[in-house]
């Protein structure tokens, strides 16, 4: 049970097999169809989601009804609204499955319990949090100052296979550019890198 989540945690955090086993009661595995909403805006986010297979995204909707993608979470990623979970306050985001997915749901109790029984996990969770802040800072900086092409190149280094899985408008939304700009960037790159040989 929870095989890939277990591999993920054991490998990265150094928690032992036995310790992980004792945490089973705090985990739920669910198979969810495409389109499933895991978190609604204004609801308190009670769980974090580890993606065993499939693809989730978090996004907000502005007053004009436009969606803004905050994060994608393919296989092996964790997605949640961390502050909503921690501060027990309503979320500004939605989390949705954009492919049929298998997801591990874990609550704050899991993190609390794991931190109690494993010093290795405690260190790992701290590192995860610091890394999360680093990613957020990086994302803010890119949204403020990077060109459309720089944002796109950054995106493909983080998510190498998403271009094949996600509609263009969603990627453009994540990048904070229009779908037309995204096409332009890709066309420009192709002009520089493509040499037809037939």
């Amino acid at each position: 049970m929870f095989l890939s989540f277990k591999t993920y945690l054991v490998e990265r955090s150094g928690i032992s097999d036995l310790e992980f086993q004792s945490l089973h009661p705090y985990l739920k595995e669910k198979e969810i169809p495409k389109g499933t909403i895991l978190l609604q805006k204004r609801a308190v986010c009670t769980h974090s989601f580890f993606v065993e297979s499939g693809l989730l995204r978090s996004y907000s909707i502005d007053q004009s009804g436009k969606e803004h993608v905050i994060q994608f979470a393919p296989e092996g990623w964790i997605i949640t609204d961390r502050s909503s979970v921690f501060f027990n306050e309503p979320s500004d985001y939605y989390i949705e499955a954009i492919e049929p997915s298998t997801v591990i749901y874990f609550s704050n109790d899991f993190i609390r319990k794991a931190s109690e029984i494993s010093a290795a996990f405690r260190n790992y969770n701290e590192r995860l949090l610091q890394n999360h802040i680093r990613q957020l800072q990086h994302r803010i900086q890119f949204l403020l100052e990077a060109t459309a092409e720089e944002r796109y190149l950054d995106f493909i280094s983080i998510y190498p296979d998403l271009l094949l899985r996600v509609p263009q408008w969603m990627i453009a939304s994540y990048l904070g550019i229009t779908p037309e700009s995204l096409s332009r960037v890709r066309k420009e790159l192709a002009k520089r890198h493509f040499s037809p040989r037939n």
């Binding site: 190149l153 493909i156 190498p160 296979d161 271009l163 094949l164 263009q168 096409s183 890709r186 066309k187 420009e188 790159l189 192709a190 002009k191 520089r192 890198h193 493509f194 037809p196 040989r197 037939n198």
Partner: protein
């Protein structure tokens, strides 16, 4: 000479849509024991069994996507398919035609029902087969062989048994039309009711048939119905099919390439590193650009 016997007959599984234009039953690689290694050099076979598509002004199909490391062979039985690629090629695969596209180092393309066909609606039936390339040719230049029906080598069988269209490979000393990188026999066997045809392939060639029309018996035994797929064993060489009704059978037999296969979506390479490179090249525009 030993008889090649039926290993297993497969009923078509529940179809799924590729884009909105191709309603396909997958046989290779998802059916039991029809994985890429077992069927080498055939790595994918999608079959759109006869399906009526209603008239529409916006052609159904599948949008821009890449391929690298193999060839796609599209065989149109009913309906017409239009295609465009990132090197500026485009064309129409008409009824009875075959398009043999060597994606090799990489191509972006899109495939749609042809405009006129879409406007009128109609029956659509096709096969898309993916043929693997040996490592030495995976990064060769992409190319097309438009094998229109009038260029396909046809052999009439004696005694009004029927005829054989040799798309590639060889039948009874007659050479097929398409060039292949490894030995591949790909034939449309068209038999009249009661008609028979005999075949002979080396035992180690992976050999299978898809009955696209009518019904046949194999070696005077197993009956294979319309839309069913039959896998032959690798012990014998010789077998015979006989039509119990007028029938069309797509026959494939190929020499295994016997190299490691690393496959992810539209990329089929030899190693994980090459797959990662394929994603990177696709992301950075090395496959070109094509508008959806």
């Amino acid at each position: 000479m030993k008889t090649k016997t039926v290993e297993r007959v497969y009923a078509p599984i529940t179809p799924h849509f590729v884009g909105d234009g191709f309603r396909v039953h997958n046989f290779i690689p998802s059916a039991y024991q029809l994985d890429m290694q077992r069927m080498d050099p055939f790595i994918m076979l999608d079959y759109n069994s006869k399906h009526y598509f209603s008239a529409t002004d916006s052609p159904r199909g599948v949008g821009v996507h890449p391929h690298r490391g193999f060839e796609t062979v599209t065989i149109a039985y009913k309906g017409k398919i239009a295609h465009h690629d990132s090197a500026g090629n485009n064309g129409v695969i008409g009824e009875g035609d075959v398009q043999w596209m060597t994606a090799a180092s990489g191509i972006l393309h899109k495939e749609y029902h042809e405009r006129e066909f879409s406007k009128n609606g109609g029956e659509f039936q096709m096969v898309q087969l993916w043929v693997n390339l040996p490592a030495a040719y995976k990064m060769s230049a992409p190319k097309y062989q438009e094998v229109t029906n009038n260029t396909i080598k046809k052999v009439e069988l004696p005694d009004n048994n029927g005829s054989i269209e040799i798309i590639s490979g060889e039948y009874d000393g007659n050479k097929g039309t398409a060039q292949t990188f490894t030995p591949i026999h790909l034939h449309n066997v068209k038999l009249n009711k009661g008609g028979k045809a005999a075949f002979n392939f080396p035992a180690h060639y992976n050999t299978a048939m898809l009955v696209v029309e009518g019904e046949v018996s194999v070696n005077d035994g197993e009956i294979v119905k319309t839309d069913h797929f039959v896998l032959m064993d690798n012990k014998g060489e010789h077998f015979e099919i006989k039509a119990t009704t007028n029938a069309i059978v797509l026959l494939l037999s190929g020499e295994p390439i016997n190299e490691p296969i690393a496959a992810h979506g539209p990329f089929v390479m030899n190693s994980k590193e090459e797959l990662i490179q394929a994603f990177e090249d696709f992301n950075t525009g090395k496959f070109g650009y094509l508008e959806d």
